[in-house]
Amino acid sequence: MSHGGGGHAAELYPENQIIALGTLLAILGMYISQFFPQVSMLLGGLLASAATVAGANTTRKVAAYGLGTGVPSIGMLSLGMGIIAAVAGIFLVNALVKHFHVDPIVLYFIPIVGTIIAVILGYVVGRLTVNPIGMKIPIMVESMTKLSLMGALSILGFCSAYAGGFLPEIIIPGAIKNGVMALAFIAAGMAILHPFNACLGPDESHKRTLLLAVACGFLTWFIFAVARLEVISTVVSLVLWALAYREFIKQSLKDACAVYYTPELPKRET
């Protein structure tokens, strides 16, 4: 069962540009959460949703080839690799400090280390899907690398926004031990896999999918803002979501065929 429909629609922005922007913004968001914990949810959450948008864009590109198992599978795979990479980033740097007595300043490189592990893990799993498994998608390896990266960045981003920083003594009790990371897993996963899953088909357009991706990113941010009971972020994210979703509906109506009137169903069959 192919999910591609009409193949690739024209791209509004090049994929690599979106990936680079998403990576930069998400890492910037983590540092803002770390150094300005007062605005961690407001700015960190906003910037973390950039990673989910970039992930949704890559999902669109790779899933248009037809995975055979449905779009959700690749989103879940991306978050599965992402969560291992995100937790590994935190604990590996902690191991350097605790076990090898490196200067604690390296703790500030946790987002970078998480990024590197995500890229390695994504590349290896991508190669495995091509070589013994035999997926016939030409961009599989690079897409898996990007998806793993975006999964890790969105999880780390939302978790550090929730906990107010990414240092191990802040994020482990603040976002992992209380189970918020499980929320990050599934909420960010939905934001990555849903936009293309909802918009796919022969008349899929990049603008519409991206608008829905942005709306889903804001919605994920909204969920975390509510979970943290922060009023300003909740209101801002809800307003931004409403604006993005309104644009999405407008775009959908614009792309759809005009429906002038809906005839009533006959009262009974004659």
Partner: protein, 235 residues
């Protein structure tokens, strides 16, 4: 931490990945066609089914592991944790198949019939005459049900093994649980790509592709094992 106490969890987590991958090949996944009763199996995707059964197994294992008096390094307790994971998964998938079967038979009104075999290898019943023309079987026949139960047991053991390995490395249950979930999804999706959509069970010709999936998961789990063992130094 000495070398041996790191090596055992490393071996466990590598095996766990391979077992999880193998388990998915047993589950009768019908995908979207099965949801319309035009294909044999349960009407949803591989990832969702494997995840549902795997998480139940993971939770059953975690519940037993959290009981007071359970020592994770005692081989007997270790086996009980693994078995409880297997039983948890089997109950979950067994109920899913049973309820699906009730809907297929009494709701949709189809006869459970497997498409990929002439006679059911377990009951010996003829299958072909009962298949509606234009479809590839429907419902969950006996062979698929048994295959699904085997798959669920393996999946539960795999999930529990990954969880136990992480606990043995010294992670707290929360961290171990969340890594095991990610690990489970990674291997389940690799298996579902190997299957390529739908499978009926161990009698399906696609089942012969299982070595590729196991090798892929083995390598991916090896890498994860290295990462996880190094992470354990930072607790």
């Amino acid at each position: 931490m000495d070398f041996l106490s790191m090596l055992i969890p490393f071996v466990e987590i590598t095996l766990a990945g391979a077992i999880i991958n193998a388990s998915v090949h047993f589950v009768p996944v019908g995908g979207a066609p099965a949801a319309m009763a035009t294909s044999t199996g349960i009407g949803t995707g591989t990832t969702q089914l494997a995840a549902g059964a795997g998480f139940t197994g993971l939770m059953a294992a975690a519940t037993i592991a959290a009981q007071s008096g359970v020592d994770i390094f005692n081989p007997l307790h270790w086996a009980i944790i693994l078995l409880s994971g297997a039983v948890g998964s089997m109950i979950m998938l067994g109920l899913t198949m049973l309820m699906g079967q009730l809907i297929y038979v009494f709701g949709v009104g189809v006869v459970p019939a497997a498409d990929k075999c002439e006679r059911d290898p377990i009951t010996g019943d003829y299958q072909k005459p009962y298949i509606t023309p234009g479809t590839t079987g429907h419902g969950v026949p006996t062979v698929c049900f048994i295959s699904g139960l085997i798959g669920a047991a393996l999946g539960g053991i795999g999930g529990a093994l990954a969880y136990v390995a992480l606990i043995q490395l010294g992670f707290s249950p929360e961290v171990a649980g969340i890594i095991a979930v990610g690990f489970f999804f990674m291997n389940a999706v690799l298996a579902s790509y190997n299957i390529g959509g739908t499978i009926e069970g161990f009698h399906d010709p696609k089942f012969k592709k299982i070595p590729n999936g196991i090798i892929a998961s083995f390598i991916a789990s090896l890498l994860t094992g290295v990462i996880v063992v190094l992470m354990a130094l930072g607790i």
